[in-house]
Structures are given as C-alpha cells and as structure tokens.
C-alpha cells in the first residue's frame, strides 16, 4: 500500500477520533440513563428502538430541530461564542490520548501537561455562557463555576502527576507502556500510593466536571440549570456534548493513568476494546456516585478542596517523589 502523505494523516486521524468521540458521547448518555434507571427500580428509555437504543439519535434530532431562543438583553457575541469556546477544549483533550500503542492523533512528549492545561480552559467558555446570558441565575452559577473548577484543578493536576512520577515521563504512551505485562503493574495496585491517588483523582474529577455531589453549578433545584439556563436547541446540545466529552476524556485519562490503558488478556488488537471497557468502568463509578448522593453547599465544597484535598494531594506527590528516588537509587 502506498505511503499515506503526512498531511493527509493529520486530517484523517482527528476526523475519525472526533466522530468516534461524538458517537461515544451520545451513547454514553443512554448508558447513564439506563444505569440510573436500574438503580431507581425502573427501566429507563425503552420504546425508541429496541431497548431504547435509538433514543440518543432521537434526542439529537430533537435538539437540532428546536427553536433557537435568544434573550433580547443577552450579549450576542459572547452568548453565541460561549458554547463553541466551551466545546473546543473538551474535544481537544482527545488529541493526545493514545488508544493503542501508536494509535493516537498526536502523542506528544508532554501529553499529560497538554491534557491538563487544555481541560482547564473550559472555564472560559463556562463564564462566557453565564455572563452573556444576562441572567442572575446564570451569573451566580458562573461565579460558582470559576470558584469551583479553579479550586479543584490543582488537586486534579497533583493527583494526575503521581502516575507521571511513577512512570517517569509525561508522554501518555510511556505511562501506559510501563503498566503493560501483568495486572499488578497497574498503578492502581501500587501499594498505598496508587489507591490514594486514584481516590483523590476521582474526587477531583467529580468536582472539575460538575458532577454530583459537586454539581452546584447546575443545581437543578436552586439555580435551574445554572449557566445553561438561557440556551436551547443546538447550542444547548453543544454544551451537553462538551460536558460529556470532558467526562469521557477524564475517564479515558483515569483508565490510562491508573488502570493500565490497553493492557488486558488476549491478542494485541483487543487493546482498544479493553481501554474502552476500563474507561466505561470509571464512568460508571462516577455515575454510581452521582445517583446516590445529595450535593453539598458551595462553601463546603471549597473548604473540602483547599483545606483537605489540596494538602493531601500535595503530600501524596511529595511522598511519591521520595519513594521513586528511594527505589531508583536502590535499597
């Protein structure tokens, strides 16, 4: 087969990844709804297609056909740009994730750094949405958003750095490669440090993604959808897409950092399937937590972050560094 020119690869790979991600995101909403329904002793979407399998398609069509209502007093440019500015970082994080050895869009040396930095940029889109809506509820929610996401990005980064230290590289495929071979090589099974880091990573992810119990941004019963309250139709769909894409991206990152990415029994080409399954496991864990707990208040959330989680992750990072140096220098 003739060699594919590099510029063509640069176009095709992101196209494929984006489409797969969007397809995955839509079906993950169905997965969540079914999972939640079973937890609440009901069935969930059932009628649209066999066992509700066409429900996401129906939802997407509905959102596309909805009337686009824009409040008259809204700041037009910011209001219209906000969903796009919110969506772009959420999609961009998939650029550095390798789905199999050598199968990724741009597996750069600073993969983790790129992921963490870009995922923090969604705050800009959030705040633009809240401000541009010219709505007190949206504004209150946007303020809380900035507060919360900034507070929790630090523990997020520090707990994500623990596997980086253990692997010795920022490149995502290196981190995954170190965990290949056997089950016990996965970083989640690293004595004490691995488990603690995983737990703190999950907690920080919950907060950075606005998931219950930290979903004060969109607290339905107080702020009635928060920063999204004035969006309808396709713009709302873009915001939903961005949120779930970010959630899936963080699940993939958790699977890569802690659960060994594509390591699993069977032949090599089953790697991406294992990766997907592990990411779905993390996603279901987060969903399970979501449907079991009530949310806590904003000042309690910030107190948890600054007083408990940040010192804990910092301490864990330093401990990991000490342990790594100790082991490499021989003992």
């Amino acid at each position: 087969m003739a060699a594919i020119p590099a510029w063509l690869t640069l176009l095709i790979a992101p196209f494929i990844v984006l489409n797969v991600v969007i397809g995955l995101v839509t079906y993950v909403t169905l997965l969540e709804r079914k999972f939640a329904a079973r937890m609440q002793s009901r069935i969930g979407p059932y009628r649209v297609g066999p066992h509700g399998l066409l429900q996401p398609i129906a939802d997407a069509l509905k959102l596309m056909m909805k009337e686009d209502v824009v409040p008259t007093a809204a700041d037009r440019r910011i209001y219209n740009l906000a969903p796009i500015v919110f969506l772009i970082p959420c999609m961009l994080i998939f650029a550095t994730i390798p789905f199999a050895p050598g199968l990724g869009v741009a597996d750069v040396n600073i993969g983790i750094l790129f992921f963490l930095a870009v995922s923090a940029m969604e705050i800009v889109g959030l705040f633009m949405a809240g401000w541009g809506s010219n709505n007190k509820y949206a504004l209150l929610s946007a303020m809380r958003a900035v507060n919360q996401i900034i507070s929790y990005d630090l523990p997020f980064i520090f707990s994500a750095l623990v596997p980086v230290l253990l692997a010795g590289s920022l490149k995502m495929s290196d981190i995954a490669a170190v965990q290949q071979g056997s089950l016990l090589k996965w970083f989640i099974f690293y004595p004490v440090i691995g488990q603690l880091a995983f737990i703190m990573f999950i907690v920080s992810t919950l907060a950075a993604e606005n998931r219950v119990p930290f979903d004060i941004l969109e607290a339905e019963s107080e702020l009635v959808a928060g920063f999204r309250v004035e969006y309808s139709g396709m713009k709302f769909a873009l915001i939903q897409l961005g949120e779930y894409a970010h959630m899936i991206g963080s699940s993939f990152l958790a699977a890569l950092l802690f659960l060994g990415a594509w390591s699993g029994p069977g032949p090599e080409y089953l790697g991406p399937i294992w990766f997907l399954l592990k990411a779905m496991f993390v996603f279901l864990l987060v969903t399970w937590i979501r449907w079991s707990f009530v949310r806590i208040r904003v000042d309690q959330i910030l107190a948890l972050s600054w007083k408990a989680l940040l010192p804990a992750t910092l301490g864990l990072l330093i401990t990991t560094a000490v342990v790594v140096v100790w082991r490499t220098s021989g003992f």
Partner: protein, 387 residues
C-alpha cells in the same frame, strides 16, 4: 427587611458591590408549590427574605359561608391537599363540637387509621421532595424520591379502595365517616404498613451515614424554642426545637387516648432534628395503625342519618375551635355558627401558614443553597398557606 430586633422594617442598603436581589419562584423546581421569595444576596449569603404568598388564594373562608356543613368537608381537603384527610378532620370536629354530636366508636377508630395513613403518605412525599431539592432532579435525590413515591402509591391504593379517590377525599362527614371498610382492606393495610416499615429503615440507612446529607442539614435553619413558640409554628418543627407538645397527646380527640404511642422530641432545632422527628413519626404512625386495626369495634359508622339533602345538617348557635395534629402541625377550624345550614364565619388555621412565617426570621445569614434545605424541612403546602 426587619432590623436586628425583628420589629421594624428598614430599607436595604444596595450600595455595595456584591449586592444582588434575586427572585426565587413562583415558578421554581423547589418552591414546593407557588411561592415567591425575594432574596437579597450579599455574595452567596442571604441577608433579606421577603416572602410573597397568595398565588393559590381561593378564599376558602368566604367560600365556606356559602356552602352547607354537608358540602364543605370535600372542599376542606383542598387546603392541605397533600394530607387531605386531616384537613377534613378539623372541620367536622368543629361542627360536631358546636352541635354536640356523638361520633360512634367505630367511626372514631376509622378516622384515626385514615389520619395516620395520611401522615405516613405525607411524610413520604416530604422525604422524597426534600432529598430531591437537596440533590437535584438528576442526582441522588431523585433516587430517594422515586423510592418514596413507590411506597406512597401503595397507600394511595388503599385509599382508592376505601373512598374511591387518591388525593382529595370526601371521607369525613359531620357525625362520622361516609364509607366503611371493604372486604380484605384490613389485611391489605397490614401488609402495606409492614412493607413500608422495612423500607423506611432502608432509606434511613441511606441518609443517616451520608456525610454529605449531614453536612447539608446539621446546624442549618436553627429555630430556638422561644422563637418557635413566639411565631406559632407547630408539628414537627415545634417538636424539633425541643417543645414536647402534640395535640394527640395533650388534647386528645377521636379516641387517640386509647392508643399507646410515643411523641418524638428533638432539641437540635436544625433541619436534621426535624428530619429525625419525622422519621420517628413514621414508626409511631405504623404502631398506631396496627393497634387501631387490632381493636377496631363493630358498629355504625355515623351517628347522623344518611344525607338526603345538602341542608340536612343543622347546628345550633355557638362557636368552637377544633384542631387536629396534621403532618405539618396544628390544623384548626374556628367555626362560628348562627343556627342556619351554613356557617357564619369559619377561620382556617393552616399549619403551613404559621410555619412559613418562620422563614424571614431564620433564613438571613445562610447561603442560597440552605434556603432550599430549610424550605424543604419546613415542608409547606401552599393550599394551606394561601387557602
């Protein structure tokens, strides 16, 4: 807003940079009905609450002057529509007190059974909606909401086989009750309350060890004993603040003195204390129903002849104030009769109206999220607030 002594009204100072006046309701997912709270915010802290009510005002008190004593009990259930049985109860008790009508023992026991079943159903709805308010319609709160609604459906099925209606009944009439138990109702009732008893234990387990739930409810919305009595709140709110007062115990009506039950009292005064009072009331209500079903005497269900015309019931001139312990507190009717077929004046003392009056006194100083938790633990029903 009221000044620090809570006596005079002062104008708010809107000059600072973080002041915001936010409107909650009347269309709001957690306003428990139509209720508008104009919150004055300083950052995230509420400094002023102006509660605007009256969206559901139908002037029951004027309406009762145009309806006879036989017609009004069905309308009375529309005040507290979540606990319709206890609403009708207060009205017929007042009419019977003026007219000095004897209510047969069987009717009294049936009234007790139905009132306690209604208390369980109302508290189930309270638990579900409160958790939903705190957890979001798409979060953990919705899970408990759906479980509680599933239990409540069983009780509504019982009511449907007894009366024919699920939410608003016409079960009470002056002199007794209107319907007798159908076959198999007692057995179905027993099995339902056994099932609910075990499920309540499950829900309590889900909540009581949950650190998030405790963080949201402990220390929030503290009502002191003195404030509780001064404002006139009643029911679980009063007992949650340490005042041991239950109308079923202190001023028994309709043979409540025949039953052996405990009145739960907590001294915390916060949302968590009120939660514990209501959870204990579940179990006491189940115990009362069991005792009533065991001791149910045979006999007539009404001391008045069956109704053939709406103006049949005549009550001599007089006045009375009769009250019942509803799920939300003291539901009372102050009835003045002038000897004709219709009352001269009826004042409806709605439990939720007095309970809601506590909000401007306890909310300032809390965060916006606490407003929702406090409103849920006060558990207002706006049919009673606005009448």
């Amino acid at each position: 807003m009221l000044d620090v002594n809570n006596t005079t009204r002062v104008e708010m100072d809107w000059s600072g940079p973080e002041r915001l006046q936010m409107n909650m309701g009347p269309q709001h997912p957690s306003a428990h009905g139509v209720f508008r709270a104009i919150l004055g915010l300083q950052g995230e802290t509420v400094v002023d609450v102006d509660a605007v009510i009256g969206y559901l005002h139908r002037c029951h008190e004027k309406l009762s002057e145009t309806l006879t004593y036989a017609q009004y009990p069905s309308i009375a259930s529309k005040t507290d529509y979540v606990a319709a049985m206890t609403s009708e109860f207060a009205y017929v008790l007042a009419a019977e007190e003026i007219g000095k009508f004897e209510v047969p023992k069987r009717a009294q026991y049936l009234r007790v059974i139905v009132a306690e079943l209604q208390r369980i159903a109302s508290h189930l709805l309270w638990l579900g909606t409160w958790c939903m308010d705190m957890g979001g319609a798409l979060g953990g709160g919705a899970t408990i909401f759906l479980y509680c609604i599933r239990e409540r459906e069983d009780i509504l099925d019982l009511f449907e086989s007894l009366v024919g209606a699920r939410l608003l009944y016409g079960f009470f009439q002056v002199g007794g009750v209107r319907y007798d138990l159908p076959d198999g109702w007692a057995a179905q009732c027993r099995s339902t309350i056994e099932r609910i008893n075990s499920r309540i234990d499950e829900y309590e387990q889900m909540l009581v060890d949950n650190a998030f739930f405790l963080a949201r409810t402990q220390g929030v919305g503290v009502v002191s004993r003195e404030l509780a009595q001064d404002v006139g709140i009643a029911g679980p709110l009063l007992r949650g603040s340490g005042v041991n007062y239950d109308i079923r115990r202190n001023a028994p009506y309709s043979s409540y003195q025949d039953f052996d039950f405990r009145v739960p009292v907590e001294t915390g005064g916060d949302c968590y204390a009120r939660y514990r009072v209501r959870m204990a009331e579940f179990r006491q209500a189940i115990s009362i129903i069991r005792q009533a079903l065991d001791k149910l005497p045979a006999g007539p269900i009404s001391s008045r002849p069956a109704l053939k015309s709406v103006a049949q019931i005549r009550i001599p001139k007089g006045e009375a104030y009769a009250r019942v312990e509803g799920p939300r507190g003291e539901v009372g009717t102050y009835l003045i009769s002038d000897g004709s077929a219709k009352p001269y004046r009826m004042k409806w003392r709605g439990a939720s109206f007095s309970n809601l009056a506590i909000l401007p006194h306890i909310i300032p100083g809390h965060k916006v999220a606490d407003v929702v938790a406090i409103m849920g633990s006060v558990d207002p029903v706006f049919g009673e607030v606005d009448r």
